[in-house]
């Protein structure tokens, strides 16, 4: 079973690195309008076809994916750090801090995620900056809640109480007992944020909160393709979306396989 997980991790990483490599390798020429090559369906020279401005869809898709992965990474890491800090604070700084942070978590979770994202992105003025900040500051509640629960549970666990009795310092307990148990959960939880962050980035740019129509974001590509669906140019929507699906799925698979690898006992069947 472990070999299975390793294989999956390998596949996932490959699928993730490919767009990044391709994005770097493909020249930006593909992004420019080439009016002679408009509306070409998928062919040898344009594997993903071209759009109504003659732009190569493969280039646009790969660059868009690279952007999505980048945005997703930055936002997820930020969210994870926030979640870690707040979760830790809630569980260790006493009852008032706990109450405040729990209340804050409830507040964040009380508004539909997408609505909150739109609100924040709007108030920052839109653009890539708005998208990143919005995503970064709204994904932390679930992970924070999880960490808080885990730390609280462990604080009253047998082996911790025993260590305390034996006179071990809190620092020792924290690093020797709590950290090894928490770290895998934290890493997996943070990794699981990536697929959500990327999907949300795509959703926000799709809805128009993103940026200039020339910068290739997957959401923008897909929203533009909407106008051409009736015209039968299905490749405009099909391939970019499919690639996005594979990227998200790869992150998801990566996180789950890593979890299975680290902690096979907790494998859910």
């Amino acid at each position: 079973m472990k070999r299975n997980s390793l294989l999956r991790i390998f596949i996932a990483i490959t699928l993730l690195v490919m767009p990044l490599l391709l994005a770097a390798m493909l020249s930006s020429k593909g992004l420019l309008s080439q009016l002679e090559a408009r509306n070409v369906s998928p062919s040898w020279s344009h594997p993903f076809g071209t759009d109504w401005l003659g732009r190569d869809m493969l280039t646009r898709t790969m660059k868009g994916l690279a952007l999505s992965i980048g945005v997703g990474t930055i936002a997820s890491i930020t969210s994870a750090i926030i979640a870690g800090c707040l979760g830790l604070m809630a569980a260790t700084l006493g009852k008032t801090a706990d109450r405040i942070i729990t209340w804050l978590i409830d507040c964040f979770l009380s508004v539909p995620h997408l609505v909150l994202l739109l609100l924040i992105a709007f108030s920052i003025g839109g653009g890539i900056k708005g998208v990143i900040i919005a995503i970064a500051f709204t994904h932390w509640p679930s992970l924070a809640r999880l960490l808080r629960a885990e730390i609280l549970a462990m604080k009253s666990a047998q082996f911790v109480l025993v260590s305390k009795q034996l006179g071990k310092s809190s620092w020792w307990i924290a690093t020797r007992h709590l950290l090894p148990h928490l770290l895998p959960q934290f890493i997996v939880g943070a990794l699981l944020m990536f697929p959500h962050a990327i999907l949300h980035e795509a959703a926000l740019t799709f809805l128009g909160m993103g940026l200039s129509p020339h910068q290739p974001a997957i959401g923008i590509i897909l929203s533009e393709s909407m106008k051409f669906i009736s015209a039968g140019m299905c490749w405009l929507a099909l391939f970019p979306g499919l690639c996005l699906f594979f990227v998200v799925r790869s992150f998801d698979m990566l996180a789950r396989s890593l979890y299975a690898f680290i902690d096979p006992n907790r494998l859910r069947h």
Binding site: W103, D106, C107, L109, S110, V111, P112, H113, L114, V115, L116, L118, L119, I120, A121, F122, S123, I124, G125, P195, L199, A202, A203, F206, L207, G208, M209, L222, S225, M226, I229, S230, G232, C234, A237, L238, G241, L244, F245, V248, R249, D252, R268, H269
Partner: protein, 329 residues
Amino acid sequence: MRFTTLLFRQLLKLILLLACVSSVTFVLMSKSPIDPIQAYIGADILRVGEEQRVAIAEHWGLNDPPLQRFTAWFSSIVQGDLGTSMIYRQPVIDIIQEKFQSSISLLLIAWLLSGIIGFAAGIAAAMKRGTWLDRIIQWYCYALSSTPTFWAALLLLLIFTVWLPIFPVGLGAPVGVTTDQVTWLDRAYHMVLPAVTLSLTGISGIALHTREKMIEVLASDYILFARAKGEEGMRLVSRHGLRNILLPAITLQFASFSELFGGAVLIEQVFSYPGLGQATVEASTKGDVPLLMGIVLFSAVFVFVGNSIAEWTYRIVDPRIKEGYKLEA
């Protein structure tokens, strides 16, 4: 505890939540670099002179100190006045009401569909655990949760309106027909595809959760004993299994109002369906501050209602808790 006390407590919680959400929203809005006047007037901004801009700012109280603005806004909210939408030039509360009426049937049908299909799929997967059916269902759920909602919607739009022209391309009613001539059937026809697409997004959550709970139940002692009594197959499941997992499933469904609303925003955009979701997008892209704030508050209430029902379902239906309460009283 008596019902009225519980209800009162819940209402208090809601008010506190709304106060918190509204303050945060207000702060965000005031920090927004978007110039509300520009957003309101749009392209005509060049035609508006300086004096007029000052007059508009005065009229809206834009130059007042923030706290004054907030209290003015908050007090009017409490009185039920959510302001006037800039895009639609109508009271926000009317807009929300109208749009929600449009969306409600969409939301309801999608919610029911995803609940029923997800539940059935979860049970089937658990009962045929390890077989190809189980694997397919699981794989499908994981794939679905990684799929961008709007892309799935686009694909379905492509398949069912272009390749196989069964359904209309979008909107809530036929084009070029006046409102009073739009029939119930017309509306239903336009609603089918969006509703089905929206339901797809909710299936994976409940399917996987139900499957897990069902596997737990099937491995439990009371199922063993039921088998020892000679019960088996579907009869066994319907007698003992269903009851024990119906409750967690229903609770989960009610707690999923948040995802439902979010999904509706995207789906309505793809299908150009004139509901609350589309209104949210309009408000945020066009900078309609009052409408956006109103929608944020409304959605918070929506989610809160869902979560409260989820909590209460458990309290009311699980006899262990119900009878426990009775014993207390």
